[in-house]
């Protein structure tokens, strides 16, 4: 059999049916099963690099493709990936702190731990045990160890090599998804009260961030499991048949000498999760979840943070946003009293929020991307200004209502630049809800729809202005001022059709709305291009 490694992927003639492991410069990065993951190419099979890996593959690397035991080596050579200009660099699949990353079984890049990191492994195990104790004793749910850690415990009493995170589940006694979600909110509150840092991933999944002594963070997912009718659902995306008696009452299992609560019948759980061949190690394993189950879980539990990953990636790797204030900020500033507070919704890395703060105006920065917060806070420290930042996803009604309640008690004007076009219908409805709750004017900038116009930055759309105005009015807003003309996009590039709107939100019973004043804006000023970094 011949094997070649190129920018396209790994090409094999007569590919084996068993999984293969890929290391770059001796570090594990990925595993695949050629017959399942490849596609026919010439006389063999091409297995493409996973999408999450491709942006890292620029430079020289010692690539090794071998079987799981490492005994049969199919390829072992120095390869240059990317353009010839990359030849002098080494491929580094690492995070910003230089920690190695690897592809996990759902195709995401995650931290890869060496099997020898014993002290770190002990921290992960004891942190996971503490999470399970808190869930069982304080949140009052039937929590148990699951997934990779359970598999390793049953198979060898040890964690599986390269497993970096642990997953725990609890079996909810509820059978209505709304009740399951409410219970998950309660669980999150209890865990925060116990001192855990959490990120809500869906209505039934909270991620705990466990700090490790080497500076890294271990992620412990708390997944809900529940029955609806005869179907058993367990997050991530599992669904099928598993009776409650396979889980409760929980048993005990030992992993590297630490005891954990486990499903009553761990082997039944592992067969449910990994299929009948769960005893045979397969680092390239992929879930084969029933589509109907995924559709239900998506509908019930998900949908409020679908764009977070894309925007986070844009903040990390996308075109550098200008750091000078936008023209919208100056437009808003001219229309407001000097110290009137502003909330910058969808602030990104905070060019406008920081500028408002420098003029002495109280400002609250809001975005859903944690990556944006890091950049903004670093720049705020450098500039010596205070800009409070809140992570709020506009799809999360709880977050919107409580932010709205806070802003209603401390009224802020809304500044939202190129935000509307990045929202789905539900998020837009929540935006209007939030604007109305602030009780002050909202200042919006949108890229207007029309033929022959450039695509907006990121996963955003141009907005039909007449439809937008109708939507705002239906939500109780009054467009008081409207300007249309040339402007700039999020990357600071010229955009010939940008609208600015000032929207008022009259309280019920106040005087009738007036017709908006519409102006055509001329002579845009080109924005000075400077990199954030």
């Amino acid at each position: 059999m011949s094997v070649s490694v190129t920018d396209d992927g790994i090409r094999l003639t007569s590919p084996p049916a068993t999984p293969l492991v890929v290391t770059l410069d001796g570090r594990y990065v990925w595993s695949f099963t050629p017959q399942r993951d490849g596609r026919p190419s010439g006389s063999g099979v091409l297995v493409e690099w996973p999408a999450a890996l491709t942006s890292y593959l620029h430079g020289r690397s010692a690539v090794r493709v071998a079987d799981v035991d490492g005994e049969r080596v199919l390829f072992d050579d120095e390869v240059v990936l990317g353009t010839p200009a990359d030849e002098l660099a080494r491929v580094r699949v690492e995070d910003r702190q230089g920690n190695p990353l690897a592809i996990d079984k759902v195709g995401h890049l995650c931290r890869a731990f060496d099997a020898t990191d014993e002290s770190i492994r002990a921290e992960i195990l004891h942190g996971t045990r503490r999470a399970l104790d808190d869930l069982r004793e304080h949140a009052g749910v039937e929590a148990y160890l699951n997934y990779g850690a359970l598999l390793g415990a049953v198979r060898d009493g040890a964690m599986i090599a390269h497993d970096s995170d642990t997953d725990v589940c609890y079996l909810s006694r509820h059978t209505s998804p709304a009740d399951v979600i409410l219970e998950s909110f309660h669980v999150e509150r209890v865990m925060r009260g116990r001192g855990w840092r959490c990120i809500r991933m869906s209505g039934g999944d909270v991620k705990l961030l466990l700090p490790l002594s080497d500076g890294r963070e271990c992620h412990i997912d708390i997944f809900v499991a529940f029955h609806v009718g005869d179907t058993f659902f367990q997050l991530g995306n599992r669904s099928g048949t598993l009776p409650a008696s396979a889980i409760l009452p929980v048993s005990t299992i030992t992993l590297h000498g630490v005891q954990f609560p486990a499903p009553a019948d761990p082997e039944a759980m592992l067969a449910f999760v990994y299929g009948p061949s769960w005893r045979v190690p397969d680092p390239s394993f992929k879930y084969a979840d029933p589509p109907a189950g995924i559709r239900r879980l998506d509908g019930w539990l998900r949908g409020f943070r679908t764009q977070v990953g894309t925007w986070t990636e844009l903040h990390r790797r996308g075109p550098a946003a200008p750091i000078r204030r936008s023209d919208l900020a100056a437009w808003v500033h001219r229309q407001l009293p000097r110290h009137a507070p502003v909330v910058d919704l969808g602030c990104g890395t905070g060019r406008d929020a920081l500028w408002y703060a420098r003029t002495g105006r109280p400002v609250l920065a809001v975005d859903f991307a944690r990556a944006a917060r890091g950049v903004l806070q670093q720049r705020a420290r450098r500039l010596g200004v205070e800009v409070p930042f809140e992570i709020v996803a506009l799809g999360d009604l709880r977050a919107v209502l409580t932010l709205g309640a806070t802003l209603a008690r401390s009224p802020h004007h809304v500044h939202a630049r190129h935000l509307v076009g990045a929202l789905d219908d539900a998020e837009r409805a929540n935006l209007w809800r939030l604007c109305r709750m602030t009780g002050r004017s909202s200042f919006l900038e949108v890229a207007v729809a029309g033929s022959g116009l450039p695509e907006p930055v990121g996963p955003a759309r141009r907005v039909d202005l007449a439809e937008l105005v109708a939507e705002i009015e239906a939500a109780g807003g009054v467009v008081e001022l409207q300007e249309v003309g040339p402007g700039t996009d999020l990357a600071g590039q010229p955009d010939p059709a940008v609208a600015r709107l000032r929207v008022g939100w009259p309280r019920p019973g106040s005087s009738a709305p007036t017709q908006p004043a519409t102006r055509v804006r001329q002579h845009p000023r080109r924005e000075k291009q400077r990199s954030v970094a």
Partner: protein
């Protein structure tokens, strides 16, 4: 609207649809699936609303301003 009126209206809508243009089973299935998904999404909304109301209702009904501020701050901290 009473349940009977609602059923009558729904039946009339269906009849009207059939009269205008016979829809293929496949198209009707796709529409039904989309509508089912819309309904599933109500679960999260119900849970979000119930959570906010139950957490805020007691301090609000007690007119306990400090406690309202505390709950709002706790919620906001929860987003970080």
């Amino acid at each position: 609207m009473s349940a009977v009126q609602s059923r009558v209206r729904s039946a009339r809508d269906r009849l009207e649809q059939l009269r205008r243009r016979p829809l293929s089973v496949r198209a009707r299935l796709a529409a039904l699936e989309a509508e089912a998904q819309e309904n599933r999404q109500l679960n999260r909304r119900i849970a979000e609303l119930t959570d906010v109301v139950t957490e805020l209702l007691i301090p609000l009904s007690e007119r306990n301003e400090d406690r309202v501020d505390e709950v709002l701050a706790a919620y906001r901290a929860g987003q970080v």
